[in-house]
């Protein structure tokens, strides 16, 4: 039972009666956001460790804004590790550390001077398994980043932000009349879009997605891929996938990582425009992987 006294939960109902005078369906509300098309990431000589064990070595990768960059490669090659270095999630694991540089607008996010909490407000993340907060409603899930974050509960226009995030995540029409229902009651695909909306509500510049479809059925996967296509207009997107067809469908640039030999750290083998990488890879390892000889 939702508690009726909880602040904010009574508002969605009022909001739900408005949309008739809003804009037509399916169009994401125009983003009056500060980020004009995302930010550029420049990963240079990145090496990441778990304790004494080196998981990835010397990764160099430039991620351009308004593009989707895909990272592919066999399981365990360090795709997640690289991704988690970018928003400082790698460093939350005890004993884990990273070397090298990841430049975001002239700042090295790996430096000690960077506040990881602030960094993560600029770089959103979507995980492999949908992970909505089970104690929160759909509305509260989307609002969580703003309510629990620096800006506290005084965020004006929370309703509008929640609605916009849900529209951007193509979920608004499915949940507009049950915003107070628990987020965990949605289907897997809807939950993952809810998690995307939750990340977008904080208005990040970069969106990191770690195999966002690997726990979903084909239809839900399609919905997320469509969504990625529209989001690339406004965000810098990095998606990890071990599904090569998916990389080919959604990305502009693809980076291929692999483990050269058992026990060695993962390395970036090749990066290039997606169509080029899949049609004429320059490296033997890439060719073997995309033609299905390994992995």
């Amino acid at each position: 039972m939702p508690t009726p006294t909880e602040p904010g939960t009574s508002r969605p109902r009022a909001m739900a009666s408005l949309p008739a005078m809003r804009q037509p369906a399916h169009r994401p509300a125009p983003a009056a956001t500060v980020n004009a098309g995302g930010a550029r990431l420049d990963i240079a000589n990145l090496s990441a460790y778990y304790g004494a064990r080196k998981a990835v070595q010397d990764v160099n990768l430039v991620v351009e804004p308004k593009q989707v960059t895909a990272m592919i490669g066999p399981s365990g090659c360090g795709k997640s590790t690289v991704l988690r270095c970018v928003n400082g999630m790698h460093q939350t694991i005890p004993g884990a550390r990273a070397e090298g540089a990841i430049d975001l607008d002239g700042v090295n996010v790996l430096s000690d001077q960077v506040d990881p909490v602030r960094l993560r407000r600029r770089i959103g993340m979507v995980f492999q398994r949908p992970n909505p907060f089970p104690t929160m409603s759909i509305y509260d899930n989307v609002a969580a980043g703003l309510r629990l974050g620096h800006r506290g509960r005084r965020t004006p226009d929370l309703d509008a932000i929640v609605e916009r995030a849900l529209r951007q995540a193509n979920l608004w029409h499915e949940v507009r009349d049950r915003l107070k229902a628990p987020g965990a009651g949605l289907s897997g695909g809807q939950q993952q879009r809810l998690c995307i909306a939750r990340a977008l509500a904080v208005q990040p510049e970069v969106l990191l997605m770690d195999e966002p479809c690997s726990a979903l059925d084909p239809i839900s996967t399609l919905a997320i891929e469509d969504l990625i296509f529209t989001l690339r207009e406004q965000y810098t997107i990095v998606i990890v996938t071990h599904n090569m067809q998916q990389a080919a469908r959604v990305s502009d640039v693809t980076a291929f990582l692999t483990v050269p030999a058992v026990g060695e750290p993962g390395r970036l083998v090749e990066v290039g425009p997606t169509s080029r990488l899949f049609s004429s890879p320059t490296q033997k390892a890439t060719e073997d992987y995309i033609t299905g000889k390994v992995g």
Binding site: M1, P2, T3, N87, M89, T92, P94, V117, R118, L119, R120, R121, G124, M125, F127, R129, N131, P132, F133, P134, T135, M136, S137, D140, A144, G145, R147, L148, G149, H150, K180, A181, P182, A184, G185, C195, R198, A199, V202
Partner: protein
């Protein structure tokens, strides 16, 4: 390699699995019977205890018992444990207030922050769970009662020490059940670690923690030994001031049961049933609170 390896195994090997199968079925049946009997025995004993207390307690439990103090002479009929009921609620209430906040904080420290100090705390908690409560009572007697005298407060401190490790252990267990993915999701949104714990982890573990706290409360309700050395008891009149010596239900049950008088033993049974009823009510209330706190009541 050809398909040769897929040809059926020769006949003698087929009969072996059949024998195995029969033996497995036999074992299965035997185990099912043994386990059912064990389960029936356990439930049976529990029901016997509850039924016995209910039967004995109901002989006297009534309005008179719930609204009076014991008679001056324990051999007399009549009277009740009102002062004990008030004392139990008060002493256990104070003990809960003293033990639950630090208990949950310690659990958060153990589970969320980890490290060597945390595992030491965790180990000490396990040791404290096994500490005989009479020892706890003696300790509080030595460091508190000798200076400040017998009081409800002293009793509450002793019960809080009994409850603390139980609360820590139950809360830590529940916090460990909260999926790691939820913490990551919150951190990745740019939420601080502290706020993640307060607003995501604890609410998710909330109903489990409440259940654990209720078990500790139930345990404290029945504790007698540490109270003998701290709250002492007071059968003469209703005492609501916790700075004075106080009676509790458990103390009165003990005091009345050990007299040889039929009337006193009747009061003790009624007190025992009252104790069970109070614990049951609290448990039900906690379940309801735990349930309504969750969005949608899943």
């Amino acid at each position: 390699m050809t398909t040769d390896t897929l040809t059926p195994a020769p006949a003698p090997e087929v009969s072996a699995p059949v024998r195995h199968l029969q033996r497995r079925k036999g074992t299965n049946l035997a185990m099912t019977i043994v386990l059912s009997l064990a389960a029936a025995l356990t439930v049976g004993v529990l029901l016997w205890v509850l039924g016995y207390v209910a039967a004995e307690g109901l002989k006297y439990l009534g309005p008179e018992f719930l609204t009076n103090t014991p008679p001056g002479n324990p051999a007399d009929l009549g009277g009740g444990f009102l002062n004990g009921i008030i004392g139990s609620l008060e002493v256990v209430g104070i003990a809960t207030a003293l033990s639950v906040p630090p208990g949950i904080a310690a659990a958060v420290f153990i589970v969320e922050y980890g490290g060597r100090i945390a595992s030491t705390v965790s180990f000490l908690t396990d040791v404290l769970v096994g500490l005989p409560t009479i020892v706890t009572g003696a300790f509080v007697y030595a460091v508190w009662v000798i200076r400040f005298g017998f009081s409800g407060i002293a009793g509450a401190i002793a019960l809080a020490l009994v409850m603390l490790p139980l609360v820590i252990r139950a809360a830590a267990e529940m916090l460990r059940l909260v999926p790691h993915e939820l913490r990551e999701a919150s951190l990745a949104l740019g939420v601080t670690r502290a706020r993640t714990i307060v607003s995501v982890v604890l609410p998710t573990a909330r109903s489990g923690i409440i259940t654990g706290v209720m078990l500790a409360v139930a345990r404290a309700m029945g504790e007698t030994a540490p109270l003998l050395l701290t709250a002492l008891g007071n059968d003469l009149f209703i005492e609501a001031d916790p700075t004075h010596r106080m009676s509790t239900l458990s103390l009165q049950i003990f005091g009345n049961a050990i007299t040889g008088f039929k009337a006193a033993q009747a009061r003790a049974w009624a007190g025992a049933l009252t104790l069970i009823a109070i614990v049951l009510l609290f448990t039900i209330a906690a379940r309801l609170i735990g349930r309504t706190s969750r969005v949608g009541g899943r």
